[in-house]
Amino acid sequence: MAFDRPRFLRLYSFFVYAFLFLPIAVVVLFSFNSVKSLQSFQGFSLQWYEEFLNDSTLRESLFVSLEIAVITMIVSTILGTALAIGLVRARTRWSPAANVLMLIPLVTPEIVAGISALIIFSQLGVQLSFWTIVIAHITFSISYVTIVVRGRLASMGDEIEQAAMDLGATRFGAVRLVLFPELWPAVVAAGLLVFALSFDDFVISFFTTGEDVQPLPVRIWSAIRFGVSPTINAIGTLMMAVSITAVIAAVLIPRMFGRKESGIKVLTGQEGG
């Protein structure tokens, strides 16, 4: 018998995807279970969602997580984009070093980043609070924004800004009228990516959470220590929905404004020049 390659690949792909998505599917399915069992699905109900929404501490944690994610998204998008423009366009003798340093936050183990943040805050005598979490999140998020935006900038080249200046725009005008409009699909995509990363971050949040309301992932972790409730499934499903929404928005928002390239292409590096 000949080695049937397409069929083999199809089977292989099937198992890879099953491996990736089965656990998630189980969580989603059991979030709608009508009984408290995590083993057998008895029937459809929304009781665990109700329970979650009626639990005021969980609800507060959800809002805190969303607030942190939104602030992180806005601040790190602005700072990260500015840094990317500086790194790509300034081209001083320091920029190669700065470009490499940029990558370090991405490869730093999260636990190291979390502990470092904790040490710095305590050495500076800063009380752990909502804002310490936000600051720690922004710190690690800037790198992601910079890398996404920098990729887009590098593929654009600097001739369009020069063209704008050649046609009568000042240096600032060239950034405002040409560079930013060309860049914004990447900025939106980077912002939504960072939103998703911040929203479900546990490790860094864990080290920087103080007396204030815990963000949702930290809250879940505390709850699980007292036993697993199907409410966790409902929360997990909701969190996933938020993240997926962010990703879909990253794809659709640039498209709605008539841009051919979507955020996904920008993120996965499939964009054209």
Binding site: G157, E159, I160, Q162, A163, A164, M165, D166, L167, G168, A169, T170, G173, L177, V178, P181, E182, G258, R259, K260, G272
Partner: protein, 360 residues
């Protein structure tokens, strides 16, 4: 004006250094209004840096640049009355074709009706009136090129700068655009400064060409002069295929080449007896074998290679002392039996003495 400035551009002793590297070295040029002027040279010869100094993207280290008689070396790009067509076109992807073309006029805050009219005229000029509301990414390479041209021309600059604008197009489209560009230039009467490394392109379009090498201007003149009378080895070698044979000046009319043969040639006045010179002969001026006429000089050599080019066959002949001559056998009725020339065969090449150029 009684004292009209006749030159669109005057470059006086301009040098540009990047660190230790001298990109442009003591260049002097005067480009009259309405001229199609090309800067021609290999990459790294300083032609693009010169263009960028005219646009205002680079500031000369030394020297002066005058635009219509006014010094501009420290004027930023957005305050100069020049526009540039970039090699990558540099179209704005977030604006449609009309938006791209209107960009410059909007910066100058022209009235809305005027902008609309001028944009329409410019698109008409480049034949894209029906694509006004398309995004650049929906256009072909040639169409993008035209948008870039319209976007620059609509501002009616005193000089249009073009940085290898046809470099990204395929050969056939490039030829077509060469003709079109030249036509447009005649129509609008704007001074064009055109940077290219393609000698055929420069010969085909330019009123005058400056051949650049190592940051300096090697020769500047009309295409015919550059091709027929190159003043140096570099120009002779860069423009077209050039055969160079080394020799020593024997007397006022003869050069003795390495093989010992004496060739009559027009010796320039500044060459004295005993000077080492290069004789340059264009391949198309060389007659082969039975084409050789009585009043020609001729040499014998051995065929080293033969390349069939369609309209002609290129034959490389070794002269025995390391020098080679390339001749073209035209595929006319005479050459129906062009197969007779095989590598290794002996062949005679001849040319009229006045067609050899003696270079110091």
């Amino acid at each position: 004006m009684a004292t009209a400035v006749s030159d669109a551009i005057t470059i006086e002793g301009v040098t540009k250094r990047f660190g230790d590297f001298t990109a442009v070295d003591q260049v002097d040029l005067a480009i009259p209004r309405g001229e199609f002027f090309s800067l021609l040279g290999p990459s790294g010869c300083g032609k693009t840096t010169t263009l960028r100094m005219l646009a205002g993207f680079e500031i000369p280290t030394e020297g002066r640049i005058l635009l219509e008689g006014e010094p501009v070396e420290n004027v930023p790009p957005y305050e100069r009355n020049v526009n540039m067509v970039f090699q990558s076109y540099a179209l704005f992807g977030h604006l449609d074709v009309a938006g791209n073309v209107a960009f410059g006029l909007k910066r100058k805050k022209r009235p809305k009706d005027e902008i609309e009219q001028r944009v329409a005229d410019a698109l008409e000029l480049v034949g894209l009136a029906d694509r006004a509301s398309d995004r650049p990414n929906r256009l072909s390479g040639g169409q993008r090129q035209r948008v870039a041209l319209a976007r620059a021309l609509v501002n009616q600059p005193s000089v249009l700068l073009l940085d290898e604008p046809l470099g990204a197009l395929d050969l056939k489209l490039r030829r077509q655009m060469q003709v079109e560009l030249k036509q447009i230039q005649r129509e609008v009467g704007i001074t064009f400064v055109y940077v290219t490394h393609d000698q055929e392109e420069a010969l085909a379009m330019s009123d005058r060409i400056a051949v650049m090498s190592g940051g300096r201007i090697a020769q500047c003149g009309p295409p015919e002069e550059i091709y027929e009378h190159p003043t140096g080895e570099f120009v002779a070698g860069f423009i077209g295929i050039s055969n160079l044979v080394e020799g020593v000046v024997e007397d006022e009319t003869t050069v003795r080449i390495g093989t010992g043969e004496r060739l009559p040639a027009p010796i320039p006045a500044d060459c004295g007896q005993g000077d080492t010179v290069q004789i340059s002969i264009r391949p198309e001026k060389i007659a082969i074998d039975d084409e050789i006429e009585d009043d020609m000089v001729s040499l014998e050599g051995t065929i080293e290679g033969r390349v069939y080019l369609g309209v002609s066959t290129q034959i490389t002949v070794g002269l025995g002392n390391g020098s080679r001559l390339v001749a073209l056998e035209q595929a006319t009725y005479r050459a129906s039996a062009d197969d007779r020339w095989e590598p290794g065969m002996k062949i005679r090449l001849g040319w009229h003495p006045e067609n050899s150029i003696v270079l110091r």
